[in-house]
Amino acid sequence: MTSKIPIILDGDPGHDDAIAWMLAKASDKLEILACTSVSGNQSIEKTSYNARRVMTLLGIDAPFAMGTEEPLHGEPIHAGNVHGETGLDGPALPDPEIEAEPLSAVELMAKTISTSSQPVTIVATGPLTNVGALLILHPELKPRIAHISIMGGGLAFGNWTPAAEFNILVDPEAADVVFKSGLPITMAGLDVTLKALVFPEDFERIRALGNPVAVVVAEWLDFFYNFHRGLGYAGAPLHDAVAVAALIKPEILIVEDYYVQIETSGDFCRGATVADHYGFRQQPPNTHALVDIDREAFIDLLAEAAAWYGKESE
């Protein structure tokens, strides 16, 4: 039997973060060592509360710690329009049974990584504030970090601004630290996540599974789908779930390796992920950029994961 990949889930739940965590918990390939929250989709108070509620719903039994409201540099940006006032609007969720550890997200990450028997993979589905701070404050832990799988950026375009994707735009300095770290990075950017679309027939399939988690997931998707339809999207792009799918089922994704830099300044380009397509920088690639996905297989993965929670409760 192959050993599970030990992971830390770092996110700003958020509908698609919550679904990413749902995938992670259901996978027999992953072992969740810790969860941490970051300010992004909503304020740190709200994303932390949501993280604890989601952990409770999913039965993630791991330590949790809160990040900070402020990015490493600059003012916080939130996406209340996307995820609602609570940051996770839609279905009623259980009251959290998980308490935050009395240490910061960064220190929980450091403690988890330093005490893990195996190098740890970080799944970062929000701004990279915690991961950036970890690399700045604990450079000695780098050899114990196996891999960083992020949802963020876009080689071809942005979403929050024409040039920048939300997670990178919120904390470009942190992203810059991460991309310069030399650690293996898998980037689920908009190039792939805008193809990871979920349609009503997909969430009806999940709803029909009938277990409490599946029903909640379907209701999150109702909310997320309706918001994106209003913006003119064909379906709901499940951005963050792709960063987890990349660990569980890499064979459903197309990867291209690039040297990627983060623009931290500029009038229009702050937060842009700039790939060196033609090798100007003469640098080896630092990023496995995901560029395409087998959407049907991705939906199957989601449905199988949601079904797992039904078996679990029997």
Binding site: P162, A163, L231, Q261, E263, C269, R270, A272, V274
Partner: protein, 308 residues
């Protein structure tokens, strides 16, 4: 339909030369004048090359000298692509033709007045001349119908990872043009990297036998060799694609977008930021060409070259 009156603003430049060859034969265009700008090589060379190309083509057009460098910054060149004289070492015929006594931006304004709102500008070099014209003549936006440029990229650049050469050469000028109030049709690398002609197709042109057809193939040979080192077989017809677009955009796919130029930024200076769909919903000031029917493009080029 009567042909579109256009000014060709350029920095010849190898692919500018091809653009001249095609522009002369396009029935949809009536080229009124050439304006030169520093870009691929110095203004001295681009102006000389413009005059030489007209001599070579026996084409009687006035040439107006434009800007010798960007408005706010130091000049960058692409001589490694176009050779030190801009024509890849190709000797154009000596000519007694001379530039007009009026500079490019004054000429642009004068033609725009004369054409009473019908003038279009095809700009296939850095956008310095156009920016100067808009700066000097506040009435110009009402007088120019459309601007078609070769420049920019919504995806990857060719001067830096983020920036295409013509925009990178004068980012402030480019942003001034995008903001001037005239619709700008951006034929950038997204489309022109697909406007490829293969060595076989270049040979097909040369086999037509006219001196223009042979020139077409020969002048691009250094670039073909350059491209081969990038693992691309053939040559991207950047500037010619913009000229064909201006004449007839039916074989191209372009989308309305808000377009601005990053003039600051540590790694993105000169990047055209194209808002094709983001949540920011910028006001649309132009179109971004993203694709073309390559087969139809090559057929068109062959047809135009067969007229020589």
């Amino acid at each position: 339909m009567s042909p579109i009156p256009v000014i060709l603003d350029c920095d010849p430049g190898v692919d500018d030369a091809i653009a001249f060859l095609l522009a002369k034969q396009l029935p949809q265009l009536k080229v009124l004048a050439i304006t030169s700008v520093a870009g691929n090589v110095s203004l001295e060379h681009t102006t000389y090359n413009a005059l030489g190309l007209l001599e070579f083509l026996d084409w009687d057009l006035p040439v107006y000298r434009g800007a010798a460098g960007p408005i706010f910054r130091k000049r960058v060149e692409a001589a490694e692509v176009h050779g030190s004289n801009g024509m890849a070492g190709f000797d154009l015929p000596h000519t007694k033709r001379e530039v007009e006594g009026v500079n490019a931006w004054d000429a642009i304004h004068q033609y725009a007045l004369e054409q009473q709102g019908e003038l279009e500008i095809i700009a296939i070099g850095p956008l310095t001349n156009l920016a100067m014209a808009f700066l000097k003549y506040p009435d110009l936006p009402q007088l120019v119908k459309r601007i078609v440029i070769m420049g920019g990229s919504s995806f990857a650049g060719n001067a830096t990872p983020a920036a295409e050469f013509n925009i990178y050469a004068d980012p402030e000028a480019a942003d001034m043009v995008f903001c001037a109030g005239v619709p700008v049709h951006m034929c950038g690398l997204d489309m022109t990297m697909k406007a490829l002609m293969t060595p076989d197709e270049l040979d097909q042109v040369a086999a037509m036998g006219s001196k223009q057809a042979v020139f077409f193939r020969d002048v691009v040979q250094d670039i073909v060799a350059f491209m081969r080192r990038l693992d691309i077989s053939g040559i991207n017809m950047h500037d010619p694609a913009a000229v064909l677009y201006a004449a007839d955009d039916s074989i191209f796919k372009a989308y309305p977008a808000g377009i601005r130029v990053e003039t600051k930024g540590s790694i993105t200076q000169g990047k055209t930021v194209t808002d094709l769909f983001s949540d920011a919903k910028w006001q649309k000031n132009g179109f971004v060409a993203m694709d073309l029917d390559r087969g139809a493009f090559v057929t068109k080029v062959l047809e135009l070259m067969s007229k020589y």
